[in-house]
């Protein structure tokens, strides 16, 4: 199967962590897109996820299941290979546990069409738990974007639509910082192209035990910091500024209740 059918203009890359328990919901949200011209590349991280992906993709020619990626480095390499091989004009990453709002692709696509000098558009998002309950708005995407502000906070995500040409010009996905590959790419994009913020929550990011920010929080903090330091050096800011990472941590201890209770009732 080709990476992109003749009508598809958006290539959606779908990394699948853990056992792919949420993948059906993810693909359902993709199927419900009002923007029809997309093609998805599923990148499973293990055999269980791959088997589930193949079952779900069996009757769906727009879905292609890639080889299994066993660790974060090969996962980023797989994403980069899929992105590089795609002839689509646009690229998007949809985590295999998350879901898109029905208008997500159409809205971001329209935003980039309206601003031809912009290479990336990103939206707000909502955090949900493993059961799909809303935890609240994604906090970082509420922060104002600027290339400088991006050094301090990764507000550009998790839903982004990239112009493929801008992706290539920025150097694409690299595995220098495998647990912060998205952030690293966004930093490089912010140095080479304009970025559009669409202030609508178009994405549901699921916080669950296999989610990267839970399962690999330490590696993510380290790699994000390294990507930040590299960006500071690329931008020539290291002559004026020293870099540092401040980490606050706290323990939260809660009594388990035999019955969780119903909100609103005493």
């Amino acid at each position: 199967m080709s990476a992109c059918d003749t009508n598809a203009t958006i290539c959606v890359l779908v990394p699948v962590q853990g056992d792919g328990a949420f993948l059906a919901q993810t693909l359902t949200s993709l199927q419900a897109q009002t923007f029809p011209h997309w093609q998805a590349q599923l990148c499973p991280s293990n055999a269980t996820a791959a088997a589930r992906a193949r079952v779900l993709a069996a009757d769906w020619p727009q879905l292609h299941v890639n080889a299994v990626c066993v660790d974060t480095i090969t996962a980023i390499t797989a994403l980069a290979d899929a992105a590089n091989a795609s002839p689509c004009e646009w690229l998007c990453v949809l985590d295999g546990a998350d879901t898109l709002a029905p208008t997500a692709l159409a809205t971001l696509h329209a935003a980039l069409l309206a601003q031809p000098d912009a290479g990336m558009a990103y939206s707000r998002h909502v955090l949900i738990d493993a059961q799909g309950r809303v935890l609240g708005p994604g906090p970082l995407c509420e922060l104002p974007y600027s290339p400088d502000a991006l050094l301090l906070d990764c507000m550009t995500g998790p839903l982004r639509l990239l112009r493929h040409a801008a992706y290539r010009a920025a150097g694409g996905y690299r595995n220098d910082y495998p647990d912060a590959a998205d952030y690293d790419l966004c930093l490089r994009l912010s140095e080479t192209t304009h970025v559009v913020h669409v202030p609508q929550p178009l994405y549901q990011r699921r916080i669950h035990p296999q989610a990267a920010e839970v399962a690999r929080w330490g590696e993510q903090i380290e790699d994000r910091y390294r990507a930040f330091v590299a960006a500071v050096q690329r931008r020539g800011l290291d002559a004026q500024y020293d870099t540092a990472l401040e980490i606050d941590s706290w323990h939260v201890l809660q009594a388990r209740r035999p019955f969780g209770g119903i909100r609103g009732l005493p």
Partner: protein, 262 residues
């Protein structure tokens, strides 16, 4: 009645620049009945020679260690195992004790024989020794339960030796949070008191803790509390979660002094 001996462990690793101030702060103590257990953990910056010079001057300084690097928890456990005092404490080799520290803590504990450990307030100083301000950890009132979520029993701690041994002492296998782990175990076996006097100068050194080491500290502290919950029979009834916030910081570099042109 013979005044009790206080054993102060001073694990040393490449702190030659700060070590004399630390050891001088011991020599300046109002209370004279102490021994300092100087464990050089394989320093390469002359710290061992400095420690030896102090030991040659004053027999209360005892030289320990085999010249090899064992890591801080192992060094601390081995050092405290050789303590001869009725009370034990720790002075980090880049920090300082206030002159009244040992006398004040000893009086506090002698007045309350039920205490197995007492801790004080501390102040923070910079690399040059200038005062940065009061520490913050002790602001949270102590309870054995609160200690699970906040490490308020920070410097300076004085522990009754029998309480230290009864709690199992420093666990040499714990990498980054051996002191927190020890305090958690002490909180389960003895009463702990708080003396609201700043008796310790804790030095903040820029870049002294790497990102990886800081993350290991976070993980290790969390693991210490998980073990405490198991010991206390709370693992089934309570859930523990970790909150973490990481901030990238850009700090303007210090201005170089202007050099007049020739």
């Amino acid at each position: 009645m013979t005044p009790p001996l206080i054993s102060i462990a001073v694990p040393i690793y490449n702190t030659a620049h700060y070590l004399p101030a630390a050891l001088d702060s011991l020599l300046a103590q109002d209370y004279p009945h102490w021994e300092a257990l100087l464990w050089d953990d394989g320093s390469a910056d002359g710290s061992a020679q400095l420690a030896a010079a102090y030991a040659a001057r004053d027999s209360r300084f005892r030289l320990l260690g085999d010249g090899r690097n064992h890591g801080n928890p192992a060094a601390l456990a081995q050092t405290l195992a050789q303590a001869r005092g009725a009370f034990v404490g720790v002075l980090d080799s880049d920090d300082l004790l206030e002159p009244m520290a040992l006398a004040a803590m000893l009086a506090f504990m002698q007045a309350q024989p039920q205490l197995g450990m007492a801790y004080s307030q501390y102040v923070e100083i910079d690399e040059a020794g200038a005062l940065l301000g009061p520490g913050r950890r002790f602001a949270t009132p102590y309870s054995a339960h609160k200690l699970l979520v906040e490490f308020m029993t920070y410097h300076f701690r004085l522990i009754r030796s029998e309480a230290y041994r009864a709690a199992g002492g420093v666990d040499a296998s714990i990498d980054e949070s051996a002191d927190y782990d020890l305090c958690l175990r002490l909180s389960e076996t003895c009463a702990i008191g708080y003396l609201p006097q700043p008796l310790y100068r804790y030095r903040i050194r820029q870049g002294s803790v790497s990102v990886s080491q800081r993350l290991r500290q976070v993980r290790s502290s969390f693991a210490a509390v998980e073990r405490a919950l198991q010991r206390r029979g709370m693992a089934g009834s309570h859930s523990l979660s970790l909150g973490i916030r990481a901030r990238h910081v850009l700090k303007p570099k210090p201005q170089s002094p202007l050099v007049p042109s020739a």
